[in-house]
Symmetry: D3
């Protein structure tokens, strides 16, 4: 099936697409119409449904998959889809949301095994039990959610992808600085963004939830650690320190952490988080450009354009 980004003006579309957003309008002669943003893994295309009915408005909701036919036209230099037929996909079409959205290049079973192993390695039973309890509790959402609504790891399973990368970084860095407590580092990595499953609305086209807006993923998870400790009847400074690691992982008050890290593993957790988030953003932007070019500006990286050196591609040839 041809992807939407590869259609040219004049071609005919016959395809399954995911509805990303819908806006209702009225023409100058008073007739209602819908502007529907459709997507697949390759990108997005705008479609107009003229003379829409109330039934259309109800059924054509975001996150629904539709079967559509139509013509590709151009409007102000961008492709547009002139709809001929449109209907909701059904079970029998056998198209899943995951077929139409970007997702992390990871295997669910591997991720679960990996994280389970890291938890298994922990030696302090209090830290281990709280971490395991909360991971199990949110495991399903953890596997599906993005790590953010935009910026980095903002795709299906982005959260799991981010955590697994950070765990590997944590292991290697701890090997170089043996004074680092791996229990704290691993627990910090696994729990630090777990509140995202409450802060965000879902795995696809995620929005901030009511709790997300009023409390934020940091406070949400600090609370959950407290509740988990009560339920597991665990006491001791480990509980406070786990809460502190989550609370402080943004590093500074103005970045959202009311307390800066006061445990060395917390400081390192903050830096590991930075490395993995920045690598994710830089690599994805650089993948879109050729050697010798600059990327588009990356807003969360202070709006910088990164350069892709020419000589690296040459080296690569030499190496292979």
């Amino acid at each position: 099936m041809k992807e939407v980004n590869h259609y040219k003006v004049g071609e005919q579309v016959d395809n399954y697409l995911l509805i990303k957003s819908v806006t209702k309008g009225v023409t100058s002669n008073g007739k209602p119409f819908l502007t529907i943003m459709l997507q697949d893994k390759s990108g997005e295309i705008e479609a107009k449904l003229w003379d829409s009915t109330p039934e259309d408005e109800e059924s054509l909701c975001p996150q629904n998959i539709i079967k559509i036919t139509g013509d590709v036209t151009s409007y102000r230099g961008r492709n547009q889809l002139k709809i001929k037929t449109i209907r909701l996909a059904t079970e029998m079409d056998q198209v899943r949301v995951s077929d139409l959205v970007e997702s992390a290049p990871i295997n669910e079973q591997d991720v679960i095994e990996t994280i389970t192993n890291y938890i298994f390695e922990m030696r302090n039973p209090k830290i281990q039990r709280i971490t395991r309890y909360l991971f199990k509790k949110h495991q399903k959402d953890f596997m599906a959610y993005p790590a953010a609504t935009k910026n980095h790891h903002e795709y299906v399973s982005g959260l799991a992808h981010h955590v697994v990368s950070m765990l590997r970084l944590a292991r290697e860095i701890a090997a170089l600085y043996p004074s680092l407590d791996t229990d704290l580092l691993y627990a910090g990595v696994i729990l630090h963004d777990l509140g995202k499953v409450t802060e965000l609305s879902g795995s696809v086209a995620a929005q901030y939830t009511f709790e997300g807006k009023l409390l934020g993923h940091i406070s949400i998870m600090v609370n959950e650690v407290g509740t988990a400790a009560e339920e597991l009847e665990i006491e001791g400074e480990e509980v406070t320190i786990l809460q502190h690691l989550i609370l402080s992982h943004h590093g500074k008050a103005e970045w959202g952490s009311p307390k800066s890290p006061l445990i060395k593993e917390g400081e390192i957790l903050h830096l590991i988080d930075n490395i993995d988030a920045k690598m994710n953003m830089m690599e994805r932007a650089l993948n879109k450009v050729q050697p010798g070019e600059f990327t588009e500006r990356i807003f969360p990286l202070d709006n910088r354009s990164f350069y892709k050196p020419e000589f690296q591609s040459n080296d690569a040839k030499v190496r292979s």
Copy 2:
């Protein structure tokens, strides 16, 4: 009994005093001595105990009351107490810590009644039950603790003093803006600093506790609201909003609130907190100076010196 701030050089002291801090030293010929900071309601005086014994070091701890005799001398322009005799006070001396430290000009029974009434007035049963539960749980410490280690209301029962003043402000302001929900305002006022009883070490010479340093009073109380709701089996947006009011009451991330107020009562709570804290600091500094003078610099008020107008005292005469 004469207070320490009123002794002159050359006078003899025979008095009960509270130990505020103790530092051990060694003279140039190798003999140990103790530098003891002693206080009563009027202020502080330094005393030196020469040739101190290990028993002295153990018994002369901060927060203990001692009976002391000695001479007032002057060292580098400040009074100093040359100890003749010193012993720990006992039950039979009938001197209490509260006799020797500054405390709020409030009556415990009145405060409890006042707050109980405000809680009683609440109409939303979820907000009422959580507020009552947490107030009851911490009532004893709430009555004794200061509102801070320094700056404003930093005396015995300062927290209760601060909360009662804020409740009155809240009632009057809500009367002028009827859209304000008094349930949220009163609950916010009562709970906003209640985490101080965990953040600080006690009612006298308070220090930050381990939990205070790693989590802070805001996160501590946000967690407690969550736990209270679970124990009381209360659900609904009221719980999240109460947590949000506490979380946001410092107003901005850089002032310690990871979320700014998103509920109008939260914004007003922040401003009421400001008014009462600032009035407390300004009034106490202005009480120490005469009309026509400037106060000493007040650090938390951007280091300003406030002016006490001359004409106000004149007016006052006219009025009386």
Copy 3:
């Protein structure tokens, strides 16, 4: 008369409207036309007058009221008015600007009485005379002007509305903190924004004047207090303190006050100003949304969206 926000595409307009702004254009075949923004209390609508004459350009000025007929069409999703007939309204049409613009929910006579009473209560004759003199001098404009061109109280009589609310706050707060000098507080409230009548161009669609841009309402009124004192032959620290209250009421240099408050009543004036301005913004934004919804972003409140709790509406039902 139907208001402009309630017309639907296809309906015919026959109405009095206020001209808010006019822009001249030229069509591709060289014919002049006018784009006229029209408003009534409900909102705004754009109209096009094709083949406009020089006379049209001269008469169709901002702040004029016109009688218009035409059809409502839609252009790029927004309603537009296709003009059939348009003429200036005359005395005989008996339509006033105040019929077509939002204005404060206050009664002019009440406001004057209220403020006169507050001035009457003052005990210091110097403060009283300067305040009365300046209030009388600007009374007419004070009653009509907005408190700002945008953000808060930006409607007809917004300034008077703001001042009366602040006076009530001042009275209640001073009752709770008796050390506050009500003379200073009331005078500060009445004078703090009075320079707006010089800073802004008028009561409707206000722009910044030349003096407003170069000096600002704060410096303008500080100067006026000085001149008033000379004319009234008043001397003494009261004059300097009144000037200081005005000068410092924005609180900090970066907010426009070259001196921060050094008088406790100045600090409280700043906070009262904050409470009333913020309540005005929050209430008006919240009035536009349903319980359970967030408001649009409010730029001067750090671009926050405020939440309207669901349970409040429920409570309200219980209460009534």
Copy 4:
């Protein structure tokens, strides 16, 4: 007469000195004494007057000149003066304050002529009259006051020194950019700091006055321009622009100007002020060090230490 900075330990002093400050103390055996800071043009020395009487305390006030004899000793590495005899100087001693304090290297008559000439050159009569009026009004203090209590031109006649240097800069810069209006530039220079004569307490050991603290020299002079214009019956935008030049000459809100310059001569006035103030600070600090050395840190220049190149001194030899 030997200056205080040139005395060595063990020498005997017999000299006239100015009292800069006095602090009262009490010895450990209860006897009062005075710590007196004395100065002449070369620097300062601390003196102790043991067993001081109430008469001593009254007569030995700051700004008085005394005749003193005593011995130079050393205390903690700094010279100290052990007083043998001390008495107030009288008319007959024929010593003036100006003999004992640093003052600008300028001649009063020259300054007055220079400034009178610049005013004479002005072509706009409104600007000329207001400037002349205010200069005449404050001429005596203008000639004696420092430009600041510290940092730059903080010596007798420093204000006049600063203004004359800036006028010369203004003339040369305007010659290079003929679009600059010299009337505005000269008037701006002459008036910009004239409010210092009200903001500061006097020409020697200046303190901030009550009006200085509550209004500041900028607001004070903006007001005076307004009053002067009324008295001279001058109207028109010249008045507002002169006020704006003064109001904006610190350049930005956070540097004390509630309005940034909106007239190009105001922007240049701000930069000329910067050049002259910084040259004054840099030259005086560099005069104290040898080629190849760094100066002490200069706090108002971002705490920088400036370097005095070695090759410049060599060049100088070549040139002579």
Copy 5:
């Protein structure tokens, strides 16, 4: 030849213009077209070339001059050029880029003589030789380049214009403060922005080069001074100080200078740079408005609108 800014809708164009930028598009029926931005000294106009060929795309490049005929139409309120004929200009057309772009009001030979004279006046041979060497090396580009891509002196020869103005300022200021070393000041002025010839892509429509983006003109020229010193076999603190003057001329780290000036001539260089850049921006904006009007907002001057006084024009009449 009529300039593009003076054409009215309906007129016919027959003119030489410079191509500023070209964008390729495709119509909704799939035909390619070019949107060409054309300019002369008076401004810019957009042209559409429908049914463009691959040859068109290749030849119609930015910086080429073309001969064009067509009609002026209006599209969304802006003039547009409907192309009839278009061809590249040839040598025989005798039109130069300099005829079509704004350039500094300076004469190349005068500039070279002026700068040569300033260099000739230097007394320190090390400073003189390095400055002369680098000026000669880049003389050709120095004469043609702008001083920036936007904001100030952003036209052909803007860099030379800026430097010559600054040299004159430097001479006059040094005459008023004789302690200033003119060798350092002149060398600093001549070299401070010379790195722009490497940082920018050319004299017209300049872009940042690869080296410009990764190193910036400051680091580029600091390096060149080092290399020049090696090639000329010059050693001594003069080399380091010249590098420091360039390195520090933006004044502060956050403005791009990793070291703040530590040589007094460096501080003055920074202020002279400010004066000339700001005068250039203010004068050009003020030239576009009438007395009594405000300029458009000037972004690099903190987005201020400057006012052009009315009385200045009156004065001017009096003067002439």
Copy 6:
């Protein structure tokens, strides 16, 4: 030989120590004396040499080793050394500076081998040659210098210690993100602080040099890469990118990098630098405290006190 930190009051010293600093003073009776700060690996002690001679002043310079005998006394609570005999150590005493100062726990030969290996692994010959050239050029100082005058790695061989740790981090992180170019990362690590050998005065008690103050280690090394490339006749973007990596490694303008990283390896270099510097500071501060305690405040880490958990020590016992 007993170390200075372990002496008690009353004990006799007979020891070799390093002079860290010397200050000259004069007693109240006019006799000169020297205050000498002495150190060994364990810490510092102050000594007084009374009645010092000009010969003493000349010979007792910082960085000299002396043989000293005397008594340990106490002055204001700190130990002080009352000198009996003091003489410069000679070759025959066989005491080296390295015996008396803290130095990195690394072996010189290992470091050289390690770094040589990393250079050997590089595949791009231009990067490899420049890195090897500069490393060889400064190898001797690189092995001896600290990485800073204070804060982190501020001991002998601190620079080498820091670089070797960072190389290991670089290798492990690059293994996890294969898109990272190890040539750039390794070269960046080796060169990033190499300018310190010019910025600082030596390996012990390092001060900032003249070049260090005026240019800083970043500009110094950017220049050296340029010169090295010329001498090695290397051209191409590799040179600019190496300069950029050094220039940008502080991350932001306000942290001393006029360009932020625009190459992904530069961003990672900055983060690796952070991790190793912070681990060094945190580990050394935590080594001084017991489990359950907070460290002293660490100024460069935003003045934080870090907590050493109690349970870690318990875990450690379990593990061993």
